[in-house]
Amino acid sequence: GAGVSQSPSNKVTEKGKDVELRCDPISGHTALYWYRQSLGQGLEFLIYFQGNSAPDKSGLPSDRFSAERTGGSVSTLTIQRTQQEDSAVYLCASSHRLSGGSRSYNEQFFGPGTRLTVL
């Protein structure tokens, strides 16, 4: 597809279980972001991948959260031992730098999100 896709669109899990959320960015986009949006709230930055650089994990709320990006494309966000406060919509976005020399930046394209409900 042409846009960012995420799967599953909805996930209901029991407290204590692990979940994996998947993001397929737009082909060729070098940057990939994960955000969390709780009901009625803004976007909370979680993690950012840019090319082959080490990811910026500064937004991950606890060590139960991890993410990887394989082959510079697909990314998986894993939440271990889920808690009820993890319930939220998890959004993925990708972007592509406009130029390789000087720092130049393009907008992010967002996926539809995965709605996670932890019972």
């Binding site: 709230q41 803004g42 976007l43 930055f45 720092r103 930046y105 967002f110 996926g111 999100g113």
Partner: protein, 113 residues
């Protein structure tokens, strides 16, 4: 540290009124980027505009206009002659040298017919 403030949590206007959404940012960088995104009730975020810190020209796109003022660290967004379809949550965002994009808390706009 970078920070984005959108002081207006919720705004309601009557259709055809003009409305301005405020955005104030904090950064130590001299090079940065500012963005506005729209999140309609369907949930998917839509990019509206990008502005770099060296370009202080205001921009107009149809009924939308943006006022960037470095002196006050503000990047305000005005919708002229609002329409019901403008009802959404609007997010202002900031990207510094690290490319990490930080979003403001959002302003929920309701346009009443």
């Amino acid at each position: 540290a970078q920070k984005v403030t959108q002081a207006q949590t919720e705004i309601s206007v009557v259709e055809k009124e003009d409305v301005t959404l405020d955005c104030v940012y904090e950064t130590r960088d001299t090079t940065y980027y500012l963005f506005w995104y729209k999140q309609p009730p369907s949930g998917e975020l839509v990019f509206l505009i990008r502005r770099n810190s060296f370009d202080e020209q205001n921009e107009i796109s149809g009924r939308y206009s943006w006022n960037f003022q470095k002196s006050t660290s503000s990047f305000n967004f005005t919708i002229t002659a609002s329409q019901v379809v403008d009802s959404a949550v609007y997010f202002c965002a900031l990207s510094e040298w690290s490319d990490k994009v930080i979003f403001g808390p959002g302003t929920s706009l309701s346009v009443i017919p």
